[in-house]
Symmetry: C2
Subunit: 224 residues, 2 copies
DNA sequence: GCCATTGAATGACTGCAGTCATAAATGATA
DNA sequence: TATCATTTATGACTGCAGTCATTCAATGGC
């Protein structure tokens, strides 16, 4: 008796079902993003998402574990788009310390500007791995480059990664309450550079250098 | 029709009701701790807690917001007991950097040894303030002492606090998977000292100095 | 001693997250 | 193009978190 009782009522095209088939995941993702951008994230229910995506309630759990879980790829894509721009604007820069620092400072600002990221940060009751994949993927990459090229001096690469990521996330978390988080972000960058072995003067100079301007991202509802 | 239908069946002493009255919060706390230490934290329901505490289901929400919320004072008390011992064993130490570092290293080890703390860390989807009050209260105190006495050199005290707390928590979080987290904890301590302005040699020396022994805590079911 | 006021305590109730038995679509084999 | 195996989808169902209208002990005024 379960399954599609209503869906087959109009088995006219049949391709409609096929279309649903192939990209349930993508449909859920875009429906979730739309709904969560419309209203408060908390009030969006799984049922609303699956209704909007025109898939069954259970289908959601085939692709995602929870509401948090569906946010990860959404904000990940947002971050990836910005990261591409940031990297572009840093094309000429050869110093790994400057690349990392500028990237982190810009990405932190961008992150704090997005309502979905803000909610995610405030509710980051997520395992380390999700944090890493979504929050710190880009910063981590640039940071490791600094280590691998010998620009940074760290006693324990593994611990250093967790250390810096945690510091980064918690500083952003605290900055959620601020109107202009720029100064705190830069102070954080300075501290990271210190931790990475740069002397205080150089850390301060790099962390407070002027930032390159980036063109704003167009409305984030576009599909690939 | 609600209220106590069963509770008044034996209105023998009447003082029993009075006793329930005054310390619902304490009863909930001890019942919650007992249940959560008995089985997996996840499987304990609010209903089970209120049943064990012999209070109504709704009473729970009068005192606590959630299951996470009830854990905060529980693990806070555990930490406070250990902190007292740690401070005692550091009575002779005058260097704020050594006090902070030793305290942090010991408390991290103790924290990682407690199942309730481990669960809390793994599920720390809690606002910064809870984290601060439970996770970092003692470390934060010692850290600020280092700043205030001029032993530490930090550009921004506020940011520094969030930075260090986040680094601390996330490093512990990552250490949950390790059999012996000691080495990682010490590496973390070294990084904190660097961030606080100590030169690399001194940071390493202090962070890897031998730890004082502490007598183990007796079974944590005692009431004050 | 009586009544009014307060706010702690209660548990039936609501709504959502997450599960699971069922079933449709797809693909492979021949 | 029939048959079986595998993958993907479904929605009724379960159980718990959290709410809220109601009850009642306690306290203070008179």
């Amino acid at each position: 008796m379960p399954a599609n009782s209503e869906a087959t009522t109009s088995s006219s095209t049949l391709s409609r079902v096929q279309r649903k088939r192939k990209n349930a995941r993508a449909r859920i993702l875009s429906a979730a993003e739309r709904l969560m951008r419309e209203g408060p994230v908390d009030t969006v229910t799984i049922q609303q998402i699956t209704d909007a995506a025109d898939v069954g309630h259970g289908t959601f759990y085939l692709h995602f574990k929870s509401k948090y879980d569906v946010l990860v790829p959404i904000i990940g894509r947002y971050a990836a788009q910005w990261d591409a721009r940031v990297q572009q604007s840093l094309a000429g820069e050869t110093d790994a310390a400057r690349v990392f620092t500028t990237s982190a400072r810009l990405m932190a600002r961008v992150t704090l500007a997005d309502p979905l990221w803000r909610w995610f940060l405030a509710h980051s009751g997520v395992p380390v791995e999700d944090m890493r994949s979504a929050v710190g993927a880009f910063s981590t990459r640039d940071f490791h480059r600094g280590i691998d090229t010998g620009r940074f001096d760290v006693p324990n690469k593994q611990v250093m990664s967790h250390f810096v990521l945690g510091a980064y996330v918690n500083t952003l978390l605290a900055s959620l309450a601020l109107d202009d988080p720029g100064a705190d972000i830069d102070a954080m960058a300075e501290l990271i550079l210190r931790t990475a072995g740069l002397d205080h003067a150089e850390a301060a100079a790099i962390a407070h250098a002027p930032l390159p301007k980036l063109a704003p991202l167009e409305p984030p509802g576009d599909e690939t």
